[in-house]
Symmetry: C2
Subunit: 148 residues, 2 copies
């Protein structure tokens, strides 16, 4: 049985078009191929970092369940933690209203997302006077982990 599409009509409830209609992809064109990904620890709610995702990184993340980004400095796909084993297991993914930002809720293996050794890259708090203080939790010593 078919019905002519009308305003407000959604075929999702009764046809296979549903599958295609609900596919949701970030709008990579908007940001010259990249969208920012906010990365949040899925249990504590702590915001760990912000990185960038292109279409390849998005697809690899969906395929593998581990966070992949596009490194803007190295200009290459970045499977975070691939070498150290401190990967980010992606528990949930969200896309924002205008599809130009994504949110990954992750389990951070090893406990630290930041290359400085802090749990979160946002380890410095800025006061209303513009001055900063370190408030983060240091999980590892980067000199020991990455060498000098």
């Amino acid at each position: 049985m078919s019905r002519a599409p009308s305003r407000g009509f959604s075929p999702c409830a009764e046809s296979l078009m549903c599958y295609f209609e609900t596919m949701l992809m970030p709008d990579f064109e908007k940001g010259q191929g990249l969208v920012p990904a906010v990365v949040q620890e899925h249990r504590s709610g702590k915001v760990l970092m912000l990185a960038y995702v292109n279409r390849l990184a998005w697809e690899r993340t969906l395929e593998t369940g581990e966070a992949h980004y596009w490194s803007r400095s190295r200009n290459e796909l970045w499977h975070k933690g691939a070498t150290s084993g401190n990967v980010q297991k992606v528990m949930e993914i969200f896309v924002d209203c205008d599809q130009d930002t994504v949110l990954f809720k992750v389990e951070q293996v090893g406990g630290a997302a930041c290359h400085t050794g802090y749990e979160s890259c946002f380890y410095r708090k800025v006061g209303r006077d513009g001055t900063a203080s370190v408030v983060g939790v240091k999980v590892f010593d980067p000199e020991k982990v990455y060498g000098r």
Copy 2:
């Protein structure tokens, strides 16, 4: 009393240089004048939205304690909620390791950060198969608030 600067030496503990040394400003040059601001509800930890901040928006946010952004589409300063009264009271500000992203922890007056009426702009969850489902909480009807 003075001491020659040496590796690892910080004058912060004993001089007025401290004040200047601990001023922390985002690196606006890196992103052609803009850095992304992750916006998080300070009590629930929910990520509400991502917007962009330039130097003017940064300074206004520090001065007023209410979130100011730079609207990329309108190319103007955006005092979020200025018209509706649904401002974001900035409770805490963080700057990330490489100073190209900031995190605002806010109290969202009115309960909804998204122009669609949802509490968070990240109201759509994407499954491993790439399909989306709406999981957010709608706080207001945008047609009633903004008109048609």
